[in-house]
């Protein structure tokens, strides 16, 4: 793989994970909802879009919207039973919900049409890439990077305008404890459900981009590991700051992908390297929580 190809690949991954990170930042950074199941939205978006585009032969844009819609609904549904609960219950419920999504796609190959598309543990291949025929194998990644960056920009603009609006002020007050928001007569439950649904939409968007870029998805790609990577991004980058969330995605993805080449220089087994990489991610989360609570880019505190 040439250096340019690698950099374009890396940039696409940064954009996709940047969207995931923005979405988690809205939920955790701004609202205080510990979503440990971010990968569930990612997975659902990827599979829904694949089914729409590959099985039903509909255009890419409909896949994208369908994936976002499915993830929005999923966020809405899991928020209903949990909306009244203390925040630590959220973590385990979302983690469980994401695993249910994965187990579903692992067991039900018929949802991707079965037969010709296989599905289940074998995954689904041959997912069409949008406007692939207009480009050469070399130029296509640049075009896809454009799509990914455009989506990242949309996600940033939408989430930024939400967090700056009166809605954003309410969710920040919910994060600081329910009392203030309740005293102001706000229905905390509704706000939490809305945040999960909106965050879910962008989690799904990232999933669609992932599926159509790689052209292959399988339940194994949507392990809780992905959720933890996104958490590292939000915490290192700076929770409660949208630029921070993107910066976190850039840093963690650069670290995560560049260490792949280490095995060319030092004799180390693939699995050991992969494990050590995750040890660093875990230690980074702990260190950031201990010594750099606000992350690299601090949240802007506005005094009204």
């Amino acid at each position: 793989m040439g250096i340019i190809n690698f950099l374009v690949y890396l940039a696409i991954m940064m954009a996709i994970y940047g969207i995931l990170s923005l979405s988690l930042n809205l939920q955790y950074g701004f609202t205080g909802l510990a979503n440990f199941g971010q990968v569930g939205f990612f997975c659902l978006g990827a599979y829904t879009s694949t089914i729409i585009v590959l099985v039903f032969k509909l255009p890419f844009i409909l896949g994208l919207l369908g994936g976002m819609l499915a993830s929005t609904l999923f966020g809405y549904i899991i928020a209903i039973p949990t909306a009244d609960l203390k925040e630590d219950y959220w973590a385990i419920v979302t983690l469980a919900a994401a695993e249910i999504i994965r187990i579903f796609f692992l067991n039900e190959s018929w949802v991707v049409g079965g037969g010709p598309y296989v599905g289940g543990a074998f995954g689904v291949g041959g997912i069409p890439q949008p406007l692939r025929s207009l480009f050469s194998a070399y130029t296509y990644p640049f075009f896809y990077l454009g799509i990914a960056l455009l989506c990242l920009l949309v996600a940033y603009l939408v989430i930024n305008s939400v967090t700056r609006s009166p809605f954003g002020r309410v969710i920040k007050s919910i994060r600081e404890g329910d009392n203030l928001a309740q005293a102001m007569g706000k229905d905390i439950r509704k706000f939490r459900i809305k945040v999960m649904a909106l965050g879910g939409a962008f989690g799904g968007l990232a999933g669609c981009l992932w599926a159509h870029y790689h052209g292959f998805i399988s339940p194994e790609q949507f392990l809780p590991l992905e959720t933890f990577l996104v958490w590292a991004m939000v915490i290192v980058g700076g929770k409660g700051n949208n630029k921070g969330a993107i910066l976190g995605a850039v840093i963690i993805m650069a670290f995560y992908n560049s260490t792949r080449f280490l095995k060319d220089y030092i004799p180390i087994e693939e699995v050991t390297l992969a494990s050590l990489r995750m040890v660093v991610i875990g230690v980074l989360i702990v260190a950031a929580m201990l010594f750099m609570k606000e992350g690299l880019i601090k949240e802007k505190k506005t005094i009204y």
Partner: protein
């Protein structure tokens, strides 16, 4: 599979889960956060026992005891290095930190021992076969150890000074501290006991099935489910939760839901409506969500208010 067999399997599973949930619930109670690293600590114990048993050739019993003591000590060190600095932080901050600890622990284990399945070097014992069920000597041991651990814990909580102090800290940390209870040293004991029990539970699971770095994650949802079902901070609730979950996981696959719900005749389902085996891990997830929906405080409720 016979009815008695399913009951036996359920009790074995419940004993393993109880060993793990007990520790999770007391840490949650005394330290006030959901420790997502709990089951990963158990995996550390599992692999330390593997090292002692397979690499150093120790018998499984001394290996398990030494490994569990060592894991308890490791937990104390991690508490001193990480969690102690966050005593005044909110539960969520510490919980997210414990997630970081969990990722680091699991992958350290994977980096040292690799990702493939391993086994302890123990002689395979013949199962006891009766017309109604079969049970291995190991499974009898799991039940005995599970019950013994629960009984020991009960004695500890009610008949020792430490137990009294633990209950005092759980009821009102500030009052306990004002009454001259050294909260920090209680916390040290709590970590040791909680993680020691968890490690024993993990080793028993490893002996009954096989050992994988991923096994801590595989069991985290059932363990949390049992803990929440029993009411957080309630050790007896955690045991009951483990029992309910053990039965639910095993019976869940053998219940004909078509018959139970009476929809068999409406939809003409001739084979019956069963939960497919592939969804066995999902049973505890669904129960967890149902419990939170219906009774978020657990079956026995929280023993303290606020």
């Amino acid at each position: 599979m016979s009815f008695t067999q399913i009951i036996i399997n359920s009790i074995v599973r419940a004993s393993e889960l109880a060993l793990l949930s007990l520790g999770l619930t007391i840490v949650y109670d005394i330290l006030g956060f959901a420790n997502f690293a709990h089951t990963e600590f158990a995996v550390v114990g599992v692999y330390l026992a593997l090292f002692l048993n397979v690499s150093l050739g120790l018998g499984i019993v001394p290996a398990a005891i030494i490994a569990s003591v060592l894991t308890g000590i490791i937990a104390i060190f991690i508490d001193r290095g990480v969690f102690k600095k966050m005593r005044s932080s909110g539960g969520i901050i510490v919980m997210v930190t414990s997630l970081g600890v969990a990722i680091a622990l699991r992958n350290t284990v994977r980096a040292i021992w690799g990702a493939s399945a391993r086994n302890y070097s123990v002689a395979l014992e013949k199962p006891i076969i009766t017309p109604y069920f079969r049970i291995t000597p190991l499974q009898i041991w799991i039940i005995v150890i599970g019950l013994a651990a629960m009984f020991l814990f009960h004695l500890l909580l009610h008949y020792t000074k430490l137990g009294k102090a633990m209950r005092a800290v759980s009821d009102d940390p500030e009052l306990a501290q004002a009454s001259g209870i050294a909260t920090e040293s209680i916390i040290t004991y709590v970590w040791f006991i909680a993680i020691g029990f968890a490690s024993v539970g993990g080793i028993l699971i490893g002996m009954e099935t096989y050992i994988l770095p991923y096994m801590g994650f595989a069991i985290i949802v059932p363990v949390f489910c049992a803990t929440i079902m029993g009411g957080i901070g309630n050790p007896y609730g955690a045991m009951l939760g483990a029992l309910v979950l053990g039965f639910a996981e095993n019976f869940g696959l053998y219940i004909n839901f078509g018959q139970v719900l009476g929809i068999e005749k409406i939809f003409h389902i001739s084979k019956g409506l069963f939960i497919p085996t592939g969804y066995k891990p999902a049973i505890s997830f669904v129960i967890l969500i149902l419990v939170l929906l219906v009774r978020p405080r657990g079956i026995l409720g929280k023993k303290k208010a606020g």
